[in-house]
């Protein structure tokens, strides 16, 4: 903690040690955000129903299996829709809500209190994690219940799930907070964040087998996180029989970790560089 000039003049100086810490205030932020989120039922339904609806629609349209691998299309895109759902609950939700909170003065008010700035981010990350876990559990339940998805028995695959999930959710959370600085107002926030989300969904192998996309599109998609999130999740839930239909004929775990981590670091740097507690229009 910085010692400020003139602190000797203080009459009733408060020692920094007595200020509530980042963990306590961060947890308090997360609790408030979750409580308020689940109070707005329309937002809850929209957030959770969207991927469920997509899963059910695509499950009704497509049948059969992926290019002679014996893996059903339905199971293939469960992994993709889980990845896309994680991106939606982290990147989209945070990109929009942080922009709204900058616009409506929430951030400015918090910046005027002794709350540790990191507590705000801790609250957002925990909030997004809880939503992502819930989303994933719902999708898996539908997959197992309706589409014959079998949860992995191999503990190694659960370890893969843990790191792919945390890296995906963490990276998309940071990118969501970073992208929140782009919209000029709360009104434009949802539109600004859905553009990259929609584009990536269609090029990253969420709804169609990735290798059935044109080669150029595959190469572009491989620069962005969602393709790797989908592939990482396929490596958890789908059998190795699918490997011939994967772009490198392998799960490419090291590359997945590298690309997601690189985007995570980029997101963190962007947050640190561009995050503003006040809106640029007045205030």
């Amino acid at each position: 903690m910085r010692t400020t000039a003139g602190s000797g003049e203080r009459v009733t100086a408060v020692s920094p040690a007595r200020l509530p810490g980042t963990t306590r205030t961060g947890l308090s932020r997360a609790r408030l955000e979750l409580r308020v989120f689940f109070r707005e039922m329309d937002a809850v339904i929209f957030t959770f129903a969207m991927p469920v609806m997509l899963l059910v629609i695509f499950g009704a349209i497509f049948n059969g299996s992926v290019a002679n691998t014996g893996v059903s299309y339905r199971q293939y895109f469960i992994a993709g829709i889980i990845a896309s759902g994680v991106m939606s609950t982290t990147f989209n939700t945070l990109g929009a809500t942080v922009a709204i909170e900058r616009d409506d003065g929430t951030l400015k008010r918090l910046a005027g209190t002794p709350m540790p700035p990191a507590a705000y981010f801790v609250g957002k990350i925990l909030f997004a994690l809880v939503l992502s876990v819930l989303e994933t559990v719902i999708m898996l339940a539908i997959g197992v219940g309706l589409y014959g998805l079998r949860l992995p028995a191999d503990p190694g695959r659960w370890v893969t799930l843990a790191w792919v999930f945390l890296l995906s959710a963490g990276t998309c959370t940071l990118l969501g907070i970073a992208v929140s600085s782009i919209p000029r107002s709360a009104r434009s926030a949802a539109g600004v964040v859905s553009l990259p989300y929609l584009a990536l969904q269609f090029i990253s192998g969420v709804y169609f087998p990735f290798t059935s996309l044109p080669r150029v599109i595959q190469q572009i998609a491989a620069l962005f996180p969602l393709k790797w999130m989908c592939q990482g999740l396929r490596s958890v839930f789908l059998p190795d029989a699918l490997l011939p239909a994967e772009p490198a004929h392998s799960w490419e775990h090291p590359m997945t970790a590298l690309i997601l981590a690189a985007w995570g670091v980029a997101g963190l740097l962007l947050c640190l560089k561009t995050f503003r507690w006040t809106s640029r229009l007045g205030g």
């Binding site: 920094p16 509530p20 209190t113």
Partner: protein, 281 residues
């Protein structure tokens, strides 16, 4: 000078081509209610936001509670309370939730329930913020500003858009805070608000402080000539005088007692203020 809660010297701030503050000097004494009066665009909000640590100054010296707000730490933030100009945030939280939540940021907060009661929100404690009236919403802002037990509270145009009754209730709340020893810096463009609340008033225009004085003596108001008016046998009469007491005694003698329609008036704070603003243009 330990009893100076705010001290600014030669404060300057410009936005692109516009000079917002142009060499402002200001002292606020511990325990007083200080009102900063000025027209829109005079530099009120910029000044307050520099004191609050929201904006960086271009030049000059500022000490708030002995610390430069531009480099202040969390311990300093715990000693100030900010009531922003208008707010729309946290619409889906209830009053009780949000006051408790903010109390958790401070090392030695007030009991949130007491603050809710003190700000007159007890009946609305479980209401979501979006369902409150403008005046109630403002009380929540005050509750959030004072729950940390601050030594200094900034109130930025706190009663804009209030009806007269809500304004009176708000004044009572501010007086209560002041009685408890909190230093208060208030910006307003309501002259009667400054007159009702402030120990001292500073008039800001074109980025400089034009005058600082208790409301009753701002701009020599207490020494200005008084106007005595009454109804004489031939209709209304009036004189300007530096000795109104003597004038009234003389007229009273003429009437042999009560003077019909007697008034004695000095320039209102508004008259003085408008003259100052005009002279600054």
């Amino acid at each position: 000078m330990t009893d100076l809660t705010v001290r600014a010297r030669g404060l300057r701030k410009r936005y692109d081509d516009v000079v917002a503050i142009n060499g402002l000097d200001l002292d606020i004494v511990q325990g007083e209610v200080f009102a900063l009066l000025g027209p829109n665009g005079a530099g009120k909000s910029t000044t307050v936001e520099i004191f609050e640590g929201y904006r960086k100054r271009d030049a000059g010296e500022v000490r708030v509670l002995g610390t430069d707000p531009a480099v202040a730490d969390r311990a300093w933030r715990a000693r100030i309370g900010i009531v922003p100009q208008s707010s729309r945030d946290s619409a889906e939280s209830t009053v009780r939730e949000i006051v408790r939540h903010f109390a958790g940021f401070y090392p030695n907060p007030h009991d949130p329930e007491e603050v809710i009661e003190q700000t007159g929100l007890l009946e609305k404690a479980d209401t979501r913020l979006h369902a409150l009236s403008g005046g109630q919403r403002r009380r929540v802002d005050v509750a959030l500003g004072i729950v940390g037990r601050p030594d200094l509270v900034f109130l930025d145009e706190p009663t804009t858009g209030f009806d007269p009754e809500a304004r009176r209730q708000f004044w009572t709340l501010v007086r209560g805070l002041s009685r408890d020893g909190t230093t208060i810096m208030l910006t307003t463009h309501y002259l009667e608000e400054a007159e009702a609340l402030a120990d001292r008033v500073g008039v800001i225009a074109r980025g400089q402080l034009r005058a600082v004085a208790p409301p009753a003596s701002l701009g020599g108001r207490d020494r200005a000539t008084a106007r005595v008016t009454w109804t004489g046998p031939d209709g209304p009469r009036s004189v300007e005088t530096r000795t109104p007491t003597q004038t009234v005694a003389e007229i009273s003698a003429l009437f042999g007692g009560e003077i019909p329609g007697l008034t004695v008036s000095r320039p209102t704070l508004e008259d003085i203020y408008l003259t100052m603003i005009r002279d600054a243009q």
